[in-house]
């Protein structure tokens, strides 16, 4: 810091320049600390995804291997449990831990694929409604209102009932039923962006509608789409496991958290572990995804209204 007198003489000199901001290292550490929950959740999620990917290598048993002599075996720490089956066995003696590791595959595949479908549909319809406005906007908005009126669960149930349960059908149903949520948010955002100068300028420059929509407006929507999509993966996983729980989703013997929970319900009088652990897996996964989504929202745009 220097102070200079009128005739150019230095009258005051600081011995050290004062930093205006904390050093970048301290800043980044503080930033990391702010997202501690999100980071911890991401780590948990990485473990879950990793174990689903590596299921054949890390699962202690074949998830379909029946061991009728050790059925309804309790977890290792309880009386009657064996270290061979850490979380116990189910009604026909299949290892619960191995089934849970494999079950994660179904939930994650359905969650991610369904969200890819619904976010693409939502972006396409929401962006067109917001950008073009008029009659198209009215039609799409009415469709959104009708779809949002149906409880998500009821819609999925009704469609699965007609199409029949299978992995592909589950992905399609959950994907198609979920788009209005994206469309509504994206429509509102693009309505506002449409009026901004750079869009008006692009139009004046003679850009095509498609190019304005996807090269000018879309990049501004990426962070909000990423946040909604992340949070929706959790919701789709819960719904998928509910359908499987009812027996209308993934069919046994394929291990899925939902159908394990459904089978465990029958045996809950004596064997609480069969229903408890798969549910715990669903809860942990959705909690981790939600925490990560919240952190992502704060990191990308703290002012995001969601």
């Amino acid at each position: 810091m220097k102070a200079v007198s009128a005739d150019g003489e230095v009258v005051l000199k600081a011995d050290q320049a004062l930093p205006l901001r904390p050093t970048s290292r301290r800043l980044s550490l503080r930033r990391v600390w702010r997202f501690k929950w999100g980071l911890a959740a991401s780590a948990v999620l990485a473990v879950i995804i990793g174990s689903a990917l590596l299921a054949p290598y890390i699962a202690p048993h074949d998830p379909l291997a029946v061991n009728i002599r050790h059925r309804l075996g309790p977890p290792a720490w309880m009386q009657g449990g064996t270290p061979a089956h850490v979380l116990g066995t189910d009604q026909i003696g299949r290892d619960l831990l191995s089934r849970m590791i494999y079950g994660g595959r179904v939930s994650l595949v359905i969650g991610v694929s369904a969200v890819l479908i619904s976010s693409s549909m939502g972006v396409l319809l929401g962006l067109s409604a917001g950008y073009f406005g008029g009659r198209l906007d009215w039609t799409i908005m009415t469709l959104i209102n009708v779809m949002l009126t149906f409880p998500f669960v009821l819609l999925a149930l009704a469609v699965i009932a007609v199409l029949g349960p299978s992995l592909t059908n589950m992905i399609i149903v959950l994907g198609v039923a979920d788009w209005p949520l994206y469309a509504r948010v994206i429509r509102a955002e693009s309505l506002a962006i449409r009026e901004r100068e750079f869009v008006v300028a692009s139009r004046a420059l003679g850009m095509s509608h498609l190019r304005i929509m996807f090269r000018q407006i879309f990049p501004n929507l990426v962070s909000i789409i990423v946040v909604i999509a992340t949070l929706q993966v959790a919701r789709v996983i819960i719904l998928e496991s509910f359908l499987s729980f009812l027996g209308l989703g993934i069919q046994p013997p394929t291990p899925a958290w939902g159908n394990m929970l459904g089978e465990g319900r029958v045996y809950m009088l004596n064997s609480w572990w069969i229903a408890t652990f798969p549910g715990l897996a669903i809860f942990t996964t959705t909690l981790a995804i939600n925490l990560m989504g919240n952190a992502l929202r704060d990191w990308l745009d703290p002012h995001m209204k969601l």
């Binding site: 469709l143 009126t149 009821l154 496991s241 408890t276 809860f283 909690l287």
Partner: protein, 306 residues
């Protein structure tokens, strides 16, 4: 006010037509009722005969018109399974669903209102942090798992409450709590942010400056205005609440519309499924309409803006 009411009624009419189209499409466009009704090895003439019998040889538009005109009179056809009118079957199961929904709403409000207000008034305190943590956990909770855990603890282990069924107040406790826990986290966050926003407004400062005690300020000035966004969102969330009731019913074998719907899906009894879907959607639309009316009545700003 009159313009506002007329606009809302017009919107209501459009949504009702949309609902009828969608529920018609699920059965008649996605699937073929005859294929579901007849055994797979039935002859070709048999299929043709049934097609004529059910009027499925006519154009889709004609079929829809027939379906719609009959549905308006409460005629959804006979159940394929029980040989009674589908409408009567569904209507008989309606009261338990409504009671459960109301009880769940009551529990949710009883948890969310006091905690949300407290968290907002003592921002960043221990209570606030604890409430937020519970809310984040609650939103990730699959409620069918929560229900099963409650059954295992309170019915199987402690033998305090009946595991399932319907009748006495004891049967209500676990389902109502499960459903309440589903809705409470979101409601609490809304109440909290609503109260925080209002505590920073000018009229609260004025009320304080006039020398009112903090209690009068909070109860008479802040809470009343915080109610408006809460009512609106509860109206929008009513569909979700009913969706949660569907899940809860199936866990506790509650004799409501949802259990009927799931059973009918298992029996491939489509008139009943269709009727249940339409009636539930109509209930949701009417509640949304009522909420819009109430909010528009209390808050003149909304009827001007809409």
């Amino acid at each position: 006010m009159r313009g506002y009411v007329l606009r809302q009624i017009a919107q209501l009419a459009v949504v009702v037509v949309g609902i009828s189209l969608l529920s018609f499409a699920i059965l008649h466009v996605l699937g073929d009722p005859v294929l579901l009704l007849l055994p797979q090895n039935a002859g070709k003439e048999e299929f043709e005969r049934y097609r004529k019998l059910l009027g499925l040889d006519q154009p889709v538009a004609v079929q829809y018109w027939k379906f719609a005109t009959k549905a308006v009179q409460g005629d959804f056809g006979k159940s394929w399974y029980a040989d009674t009118p589908a409408f009567r079957l569904v209507l008989e199961r309606m009261p338990p669903t409504i009671y459960l929904t109301l009880a769940g709403l009551g529990v949710a409000l009883a948890i969310a209102l006091p905690l949300g207000i407290l968290a907002a008034l003592r921002r960043h305190s221990f209570i606030d942090t604890a409430c937020t943590a519970v809310a984040v956990g609650g939103q990730a909770m699959p409620i069918f798992w929560l229900g099963i855990m409650l059954i295992i603890i309170f019915a199987v282990q402690l033998k305090l409450l009946p595991a399932s069924g319907y009748g006495t107040w004891k049967h209500f406790l676990m389902p109502a709590f499960t459903l309440g826990a589903f809705l409470a986290p979101l409601t609490m966050r809304l109440v909290r942010s609503g109260v925080i926003e209002i505590m920073n407004t000018d009229y609260i400062r004025t009320a304080r400056a006039k020398g009112f005690g903090e209690r009068v300020v909070v109860v008479k000035h802040a809470f009343r205005n915080a109610c408006i966004p809460v009512i609106t969102v509860l109206g929008i969330q009513f569909g979700q609440l009913l969706g949660g009731a569907i899940v809860t019913e199936t866990v506790f074998a509650w004799p409501g519309v949802a259990t009927l719907t799931v059973d009918s899906i298992r029996n491939q009894d489509f008139p009943v499924v269709q009727c249940a879907v339409v009636l539930l959607a109509l209930i949701i639309v009417s509640v949304n309409f009522l909420v819009d009316m109430i909010v528009g009545f209390i808050d003149p700003r909304i009827r001007v803006a809409a």
